[in-house]
Amino acid sequence: MDKLPIYATTGQTIWFYAFRVICGIIFFFLVAPIVVVIPLSFNAQDFFTFTPEMLSFDPAGYSLKHYRDFFTNSDWQSALYNSVRIAPAATILSVGFGTLAAIGLSQDHVPFRRAIMAVLISPMIVPLIISAAGMYFFYSRIGLQGTYIGVVLAHAALGIPFVIITVTATLVGFDRSLTRAAANMGAGPVTTFFRVQMPLILPGVISGGLFAFITSFDEVVVVLFVGSSAQKTLPWQMFTGLREQISPTILAVATILVAISILLLTVVEMLRRRSERMRGIKPT
């Protein structure tokens, strides 16, 4: 619907433009908070508001001092280090277990598939604070509270539902006769999985992994409960920074995180298009 047909009635004409306006408003609502943060992070002053210099585009009003602070301040650096150590480990666990669970649960002969699926997805639906409190008590009992492994496991549990959902979605379109064909040609189950099934569900696995990574990278509630100060991640540091030291460094960090997210999403989308082109499917 890129052009109004000539036979459109008045009502249709009004709706045609109203539809665009509504879409624009929704888009603005979603994007404005993120966009506003970006110029503010270059503020030369320690304020969260636009200074008169900034509004007049005076170069003196802008600086990279908050970025410098982020890269030199030891609090921020140890938080970054913790995040970078926790998120990939949690992602690997999520992807491994989530993919296996999705494949297992997609087979017809597994009993109680729906019930098992519901349990595995529950961390996504149960309010985070409840999961976090539960994990706190459970992990304290078994000595994982306040450890690196504890936080990784907790984040993996949060990431698994995303992987299960995306991989299950790709498995719906997966032709079961392909695995039969592979078996028929002499490939054992393991070879079949890595040579035939895995390459074809890879887009789902990657996007699930991306969600799991962002979940862990972004997560503050569970890490507050399960982690100790030795596992202080970036979001945790931002959270305390907001309460205790009101520094626009937070805005610099936020900008960096937004840039990373955009980069990751772009890469995944490019990979997806490439794999579809390779398979001769027209890009949508």
């Binding site: 032709d175 006769s177 392909l178 039969r180 064909a181 592979a182 078996a183 028929n184 040609m185 002499g186 490939a187 054992g188 189950p189 070879t191 079949t192 040579r195 035939v196 390459p199 074809l200 794999s275 390779m278 398979r279 001769g280 499917i281």
Partner: protein
């Protein structure tokens, strides 16, 4: 084709039964022996159990009861990937993420074959189906017919002795399908492989097979070479299912000298060959092929029984004429005649008498 009876049979189904739910038998007591080098077709309507039999042979389904033997050894406990059977799937099942050459190379790679030998075999298999220059394409870039050829080459590339085909031509248009029928037949004869072919298309079954097993209701209704199947069906299901057929119901009056005298429900008397009727009084369904019906009195036996018929429709089909008659209450009695210079072209409304040789008309079960 080698005679299936002079050895024990390369593929043997021995009292095989299959049930998916533990109650209904999809395959009921299947006994079938397929000779080495034979082209056997399993033909039947959907739900007749033919695909289930193929899947049990490939190892994707397990028999509920009975044994399946391959080369004399039971294979019930051998997983599909160790059976060494080639298969062409209905939807081809080509790996979309691999090129054509990689698809064909896959079964050789899992057999740990060296690269140069692999490349050589892949190229030979592709050449055999006239796809030699397509090795670097992906399945998505090929037409349906080309994908079908590749699937065939992939099933043959690792030189299996037995190849299964599950309605491989179902998705092709008519012309391509006919062409591929001859192609598959030629290749299987050249290579001397044993083929078990599943289809619901009777023309396909008749043109390609050494023998055809007609399936219905989980049983083999008849197992015979194509000509016998067409000319000498053993029961009404086979007569109805294979080719076009005129049927009439009646009661056997007497059986004498190998000829049954049948009184049709309309009262008329006809001669027929008794197939599975044994005594006077049996209900029967007589079956006669449209091309074996004669309406030229001179060509019939002097004392042959004839029926009165009225011409309802005359259809010119080029090589043949197809005439629809009313015989008694049956308004769908078809007669096919060859378009020859001396052939009579009947006109609608014309009253004629029809008859046939007693051996062409078969008295089957009612």
């Amino acid at each position: 084709m080698k005679d299936a009876n002079n050895e024990q049979g390369f593929v043997v189904f021995d009292h095989v039964q299959k049930s998916y739910d533990g109650e209904v038998l999809v395959v009921k007591d299947l006994n079938l022996s397929i000779g080495r080098g034979e082209f056997l077709t399993m033909l039947g309507p959907s739900g007749s159990g033919k695909t289930t039999c193929l899947m049990m042979l490939a190892g994707f389904e397990t028999a509920t009861h009975g044994d399946i033997l391959l080369g004399g050894k039971p294979i019930n406990n051998i997983p599909p990937h160790k059976r060494g059977i080639g298969m062409v799937f209905q939807n081809y099942a080509l790996f979309p993420h691999m090129t054509i050459a990689e698809n064909l190379s896959f079964p050789l790679e899992v057999r740990k074959m060296g690269k140069s030998e692999r490349d050589q075999k892949v190229q030979r298999a592709l050449d055999m189906v006239q796809m030699g220059s397509f090795g670097s394409r992906r399945p998505g870039q090929l037409s349906g017919g080309q994908q079908q050829r590749v699937a065939l080459a992939r099933a043959l590339v690792f030189e299996p002795e037995l190849v299964l085909m599950d309605e491989p031509l179902g998705a092709l248009d008519k012309q391509l399908r006919e062409h591929m029928q001859f192609e598959i037949k030629r290749i299987s004869d050249d290579l001397g492989i044993t083929v078990v072919y599943v289809t619901h298309d009777q023309t396909e079954a008749l043109t390609m097979s050494d023998r055809v097993a007609v399936f219905d209701d989980g049983r083999i209704q008849q197992l015979a070479p194509p000509d016998q199947l067409y000319e000498a069906p053993e029961n009404s299901f086979v007569a109805q299912f294979i080719g076009e057929n005129n049927t009439m119901e009646g009661v056997v009056k007497e059986i004498k000298n190998g000829v049954a005298l049948v009184q049709l429900d309309g009262g008329d008397l006809i001669d027929a060959k008794p197939i599975n009727v044994s005594k006077a009084g049996d209900r029967t369904r007589v079956s006669i092929r449209p091309e074996r019906v004669e309406y030229n009195r001179d060509r019939l036996h002097k004392d042959a029984h004839t029926l009165k018929a009225e011409v309802l429709e005359f259809i010119y089909m080029g090589d043949i004429f197809r005439t629809r008659l009313r015989v008694g209450k049956n308004e769908d009695f078809i007669v096919k005649t060859r378009n020859a210079p001396d052939q009579v072209r009947l006109k609608p409304g014309q009253q004629i008498e029809i008859g046939w040789l007693p051996e062409d008309c078969r008295a089957l079960d009612a």
